[in-house]
Each structure stands twice: as C-alpha cells, then as structure tokens.
C-alpha cells in the first residue's frame, strides 16, 4: 500500500517530534518567566516614581482596580477607569488618585482629588501613552496609607511622534 507522503518526509516514529518539542519549550519558557515577572515586579525607576508621590511609603496592592486596555491601537487617547474600594466617609475616604506612565517624557499624567462627597471613588479619563509600558495608579487614603495597581500596556501607535 502506497502512502500519500513520501517515506522520507514522514514523521519518524522514534523520539519526540518537532511540534511537541516546541510546545514543551514554550510551556517551559512560560513557567520560567512567571516567577521572574513576580521577582522584578517594580523596576527601580518605577519604584522611585511611586516613592516620590507617597513620601517614601510603598503602596499595598489591592482595593484598587485599574481598568485600561492591554492593547492600545492609538496612544494619543487611552480610555482609563480607576475604581477604589472605599466607603467614602469622612473617616475613611480616598484623598487622591495619581496616574504614572513610567516611560512618558513626563511620567506624571494626572491626579484626581476626591473627598467624602464623591460617594464613590471611581474616576475615568483619557490618557496619552508614548510607548508600550506599565501604567501605575496610586491612591492615597485618608488614614495615611496608599494602595496601587498597575497594568502592562502595549501601544501600537505612539503618542509623542510628530503630528501626533
């Protein structure tokens, strides 16, 4: 019985084939990358940008949601929404929310000042991103603490190009 493919191009029976080797390598790479990402979570430059606005304190993670697209077609206008879980009472509220883009020419993008009258710590705006980078949102709480959230953003069309 003749085969439709020549014996020479047929998959060899012995040993793993190319496809399974590649899949295994990719899985290994993923596993190897995940702890590395956690270890180098905040780059020194970004830590410095955060410390500058929190007077040295390291913000906790959690209680804050940064809603921003992971893939941005146009860096000139990026829809961003920040929500902080807070009762927004006189005793416990969010004082401000600050947005940092580490690789923008001016990393500070905006600061929202809120108070107990806001009712809910939820704000939205449109941002400019010069390139693919990590966007950080830091919120200052009335108790003196800080919380943060960040997101890795891929920008297809940079802002900061001439004519942009």
């Amino acid at each position: 019985m003749s085969s439709v493919i020549s014996p020479r191009s047929r998959r060899s029976e012995a040993g793993p084939d190319r496809r399974s080797v590649l899949a295994g390598a990719a899985a290994g790479l993923l596993v190897a990358t995940l702890p590395a990402r956690a270890a180098t979570d905040i780059s020194p430059e970004r830590a410095q940008l955060i410390a500058r606005i929190t007077e040295g304190a390291l913000p906790e993670r959690g209680r804050i949601t940064l809603d921003i697209p992971a893939l941005v077609e146009n860096g000139n206008s990026v829809d961003t929404r920040i929500l902080v879980e807070s009762a927004m009472t006189e005793a416990d509220h969010v004082r401000w929310i600050h947005l940092i883009a580490e690789k923008n020419p001016f990393p500070d993008m905006a600061r929202f000042h809120l108070g107990p009258r806001a009712g809910r710590a939820e704000v939205a705006t449109t941002l400019r991103l010069s390139q693919s980078q990590t966007v950080t949102a830091v919120a200052a709480l009335s108790g003196g603490g800080f919380v943060m959230a960040d997101a890795d953003i891929v920008v297809t069309l940079s802002a900061c190009i001439d004519g942009g």
Binding site: N76, P107, M109, A110, H113, G119, T126
Partner: protein, 107 residues
C-alpha cells in the same frame, strides 16, 4: 481658542443618590515640542486643572499634565444633596480660565 465642553449628568436625582458626571472637553492640549510645520515648535498649552464646585462647595479637582489626551474626557461621581449648580472651571497654561455650569435637580 477653541474651547468647548459637554457636560452630562442626570436631569434629576434623589437625595443621597450617587450621580456620575461626565465632562468631554474640546481642547488641543498641546504637550509642547511638536513641529509647527514652519521650522519651529508648538509651545505647551494645556488645561492644567479642572475644579468642580457643587452649591459653592468644592467636590472635585483634577490636576492634568501632558499625559492627558487632547479633547480630554473626565468622569467622576458626587452624592446628590440639594438642588444646585455644579460649576466647572478649567485653568489653562498662561492663566486663562473657562467656566461652565450645569444644574442638578434633587428631589
């Protein structure tokens, strides 16, 4: 100067209800440094602050830098307390200010 603003908020709200206020502003927000096409560069000219007062009381302030897009959209919330005017004031580089007013009816 082509400034304009569209403010969206509920026509009326009940006391204690949290209302979302959306502000879409028309402004070039020139970050400075782009070519002006004549060999020079465009100077920085952005709206650097938006404040909102509700019946005379400040409720919201946004400090903007060059990282805010042209024609910026801003949304925030406030708790409805009484019928009154919400006054929005923008401060532009160079000191110019723009003011718009929206009325919130509280039932």
């Amino acid at each position: 100067m082509s400034f304009n603003a569209r403010i969206t908020l509920p026509a009326q709200a009940r006391v204690g209800e949290i209302v979302e206020i959306k502000v879409l502003t028309r402004h070039p927000m020139d970050r400075g440094g782009q070519s002006d096409g004549k060999g020079g560069t465009v100077p920085r000219m952005i709206l650097n602050r938006l404040t909102a007062t509700y019946a005379g009381e400040p409720i919201f302030r946004l400090d903007m830098h060059t990282g805010v897009s042209a024609n910026p959209f801003v949304s925030f919330t406030t708790r409805a307390v009484a019928t009154g005017d919400i006054v929005f004031e923008w401060r532009e580089d160079g000191g110019a200010t723009y003011t718009r007013t929206a009325r919130l009816t509280v039932t």
